[in-house]
Symmetry: C2
Subunit: 395 residues, 2 copies
C-alpha cells in the first residue's frame, strides 16, 4: 500500500517536531504559542454564552455564507492597515494555516515555483509541500527579503507565488522595509506572480513604528493578505482570514468547501460578539506589554548566559528570537543529543526552516509561552548546555 | 494569472450549488442540513459553559495532541459497531468532509484511480477533485455497489481507493448488504486497495436492522472509517473522526497539520463534556423519531403529488429520498428554468452526483431540514411544477 508523494514530503516537513517535549517539566522555547494567562477568558465565555443562549439555533447549523457582521469588522481593521477591502474580499479560514494551504492549492500545480524566505515558517513549508512545488529560497537581510536575489529568481524561473512574512518574520524577527514592500509588488506585477503576505504577527509590535502592509501597494489584485486571531485572541478559535480579489476569494472559498465545508458558525458568532462587546485593541495593548517584557527578559537572559560566539537579535515584535551559532554547529544534533535529554529545554533547530535543509546553525526561540521563571531558567540551562557540549564552542 | 488545474475541477464540482436559493421563502430540499429545532442547545450551552469557566486556560490554547478522553469515547462507540479501535487509531477532523479530503491526499497522486458509487456525495467528489484522480464509477444496486462492476474495474485499472457510503447512501438512500460489505473487503485485499467507509449517517436508521460496518471485516488495516457529529449533534461543532491504522493515522495527522494545524481544543473539550453529562443515544433516538416522521411525510406527499412516471424510494435511514424521472428528463434544467424561479423550491439535480456528469434524470430531496409544512407545500409545488413543465411528463 503506497501513499502519495505529497505524504512523504509533508510528514518529513518537521512541523510536528515543534511540539516535541520530554515530559511536563520540559521548558519549551519551541512552539509558537501565546501565553496561556493572557486569553480573555471571561469575555470569551460571555460571548459564547450570549451566542449559545440567544434562542437562535442557526448558530449550530451549517451557514450558507460566512457571518457578514464579522467580515465587516475585518474590513474595518483592514482599513486601518491602509487596505480598502470589501466584505466580499474576506474569507475566514481555520487559522492562518488554512489560508496558506488554500493559497498554495489555488496557485500551484506540481512543480510550479514558490519563492520563500530563507529561513521561513515551517508550517508554511508543510502546507506548500502538499502541492509539491519547486521551492526557491531568498535570503532574509536585516530589512527583509534580498530583492536582488528575488529578481534573479523571477527572471530565470517559472514562479507563481512569493510567500513572505513582512512583520516580525518567523523565525528571524526581521521587519521588511517599506521600500522593499513596494519593490516586491513591482516585481510581482512585472513577472505576473501572486504575493502571499502572512501577517499573523502584525498586531504584536513592541518597539518602533508600524510600516504599511504590502497589500496597501497592491494595484493589480496580486496580494493575498492573511491575518489571524490565534495570536491576539486564542488559538482554539481556529479563526484566521484572508483578503483577496472577489474572484480569487470565490475560488479559495470553493477550495475551502472541498476541504472542510466551512468554518464553524458558532465560532464566528462568538468572535463577532466578543468584538462587539469588547475593545480588542485594548486587549492587544495588554498582550503587547507583557510580550515586550518577556522579550526583553529573554534577550537579557541570553546576553547573560550564552557564549559570545552565539549571535541573536532583539526583535521589534512577534514571538521569536533567532540564534545564530558558528557555521559548523548543528543545532538539531545539539537539541537531540544534549539540550533536550540533559537540560530538558527545547527550541526549533534551523534545518527544517530552510527548504534546502542545509543551514544547520540557527535556532528559533519563543518567548511568549514560557513563564518569566522558565525564560530565566531555560536560558541559563541553554547557556550551560552550550558550554558543556563537546564542541567548537567549548574549545 | 493562471490558477492550478485542481481549482478548475473543484470550482466546477457543484458543491456550492447545494446552497442555492432564491430568497428566504425558498423551500429547500437541496441541502444536507439537520433540523434546526433538534440541536440540544441547552445541553451544549452547559457543556461550553463548564469548559470555558473551569479556569483551565488550556482549552483556548493549541493542543499538542487531540483530547484523549474524547478519543476514548469514540473507541467505545466504535466497539458497539464491532470495531476494536484504540485511541491512537482515532483522528478528529473538521467534520467528515476533512476526513474525506485527507484520505484522498494520503492515497492519491494525480491520475491515480478512485472508485466511487454512481451517484455519490457531491462533496466527496469535490474533495477528491483537489487531488486530480482518475474516477471510476460503479452503479449502486438496491443492495449497494455492483460488485461485478467493481471487480471489473479493479482488474483492469490502477485503483488506490474505493469510496463508499454503505448506510443510507447519499443520495440514493441504499443500504449495502452484509454480503457485499464482506465482498468489497475481499476485493480490496486482493487488489491492494484502501476502502474509505463514509458512515456520517449510520446512527440515523429509522426502520430495519443495523448491519455490520465494513471496517468490522477489515483484517489488513485497509479500511478508513469516517464518522461525524454533524448530523447527530450539530454541524457547527465541525467535528468528525476517522479510524485507521496507527501508521495511516499518523500520516493523516501530519497532512491535517499542514492544512489547518489542528481541530479546536475548545470544541473537543465541549463535546467531551456534553458526552460525559448527557446520554447522546437518547438524543439520537429523539432525532430518529422526528426524522422518521418527516421521511414518512415526504414519502406520502410525493406519492400524492408526483406524476406516476416519477420513481422514488422509501429509505431506511439517512437524510434523502432519491427521485428518478424519465430518461430524457433533465432535472438541472427543470430546476433552473422552472422549479426554482416559478415554484421557489430547490433540490439537488443528479448531474453533479456522477463524475461522468451524464445522468440527468435524478434528483436528491432532503427531508430533515424543512418543516412539516414545507415538506407538504414543497412536494405539492414540485408535483404541480412537474405537471406544468413543457415536457415529456406533461405530454
Amino acid at each position: 500500500m503506497n501513499f502519495s508523494s505529497r505524504t512523504d514530503l509533508t510528514i518529513n516537513s518537521g512541523l510536528n517536531d515543534i511540539f516535541k517535549t520530554r515530559d511536563s517539566q520540559t521548558i519549551s522555547f519551541a512552539g509558537g504559542l501565546p501565553d496561556n494567562s493572557l486569553f480573555p477568558q471571561k469575555e470569551l465565555a460571555q460571548a459564547f454564552h450570549e451566542v449559545i443562549t440567544n434562542d437562535d439555533p442557526s448558530v449550530f447549523q451549517y451557514s450558507a455564507e460566512q457571518l457578514l457582521p464579522l467580515r465587516d469588522k475585518i474590513t474595518q481593521k483592514m482599513k486601518r492597515y491602509g487596505v480598502n477591502a470589501k466584505s466580499e474580499d474576506i474569507l475566514f479560514t481555520q487559522g492562518a494555516q488554512q489560508a496558506l494551504s488554500l493559497a498554495a492549492q489555488l496557485l500551484i500545480d506540481k512543480g510550479d515555483g514558490i519563492v520563500v524566505e530563507a529561513p521561513t515558517y515551517v508550517g508554511a513549508l508543510a502546507a506548500f509541500d502538499a502541492v509539491e512545488p519547486s521551492f526557491y529560497e531568498v535570503p532574509v537581510d536585516n530589512d527583509g527579503m534580498n530583492i536582488d536575489a528575488l529578481e534573479h529568481i523571477l527572471k530565470h524561473h517559472e514562479v507563481k507565488m512569493i510567500y513572505t512574512i513582512p512583520d516580525f518574520q518567523n523565525p528571524t524577527g526581521v521587519v521588511m522595509s517599506t521600500a522593499k514592500r513596494k519593490a516586491i509588488v513591482e516585481l510581482a506585477n512585472r513577472y505576473d506572480v501572486v504575493i502571499v503576505e502572512d501577517e499573523a504577527y502584525r498586531d504584536l509590535r513592541y518597539t518602533g513604528t508600524q510600516l504599511p502592509t504590502i497589500k496597501q501597494f497592491d494595484t493589480q489584485g496580486r496580494v493575498i493578505y492573511i491575518g489571524s486571531f490565534s495570536k491576539i485572541l486564542a488559538p482554539a478559535m481556529r479563526l484566521g482570514w484572508l483578503v483577496a480579489t472577489p474572484k480569487m476569494r470565490a475560488d479559495l472559498a470553493a477550495l475551502k468547501g472541498s476541504t472542510d465545508i466551512e468554518t464553524s458558525s458558532l465560532t464566528m458568532h462568538a468572535v463577532n460578539d466578543y468584538l462587539a462587546a469588547n475593545d480588542i485593541d485594548q486587549h492587544i495593548d495588554e498582550v503587547r506589554n507583557i510580550y515586550c517584557q518577556k522579550k526583553d527578559l529573554m534577550y537579557q537572559a541570553l546576553a547573560e548566559n550564552l557564549p559570545e560566539e552565539v549571535e541573536f537579535n532583539n526583535p521589534e515584535g512577534g514571538f521569536f528570537i533567532w540564534l545564530k551559532l558558528p557555521n559548523n554547529f548543528d543545532t538539531e544534533e545539539f537539541l537531540d543529543q544534549y539540550l533536550l535529554p540533559e537540560a530538558n529545554v527545547t527550541f526549533v533547530p534551523s534545518k527544517n526552516l530552510f527548504t534546502s535543509k542545509n543551514v544547520l546553525n540557527g535556532a528559533r526561540l519563543n518567548f511568549t509561552q514560557p513563564t518569566d521563571e522558565q525564560i530565566c531558567e531555560g536560558c541559563l540551562r541553554l547557556g550551560q548546555a552550550l558550554k558543556n557540549y563537546r564542541l567548537p564552542i567549548a574549545n
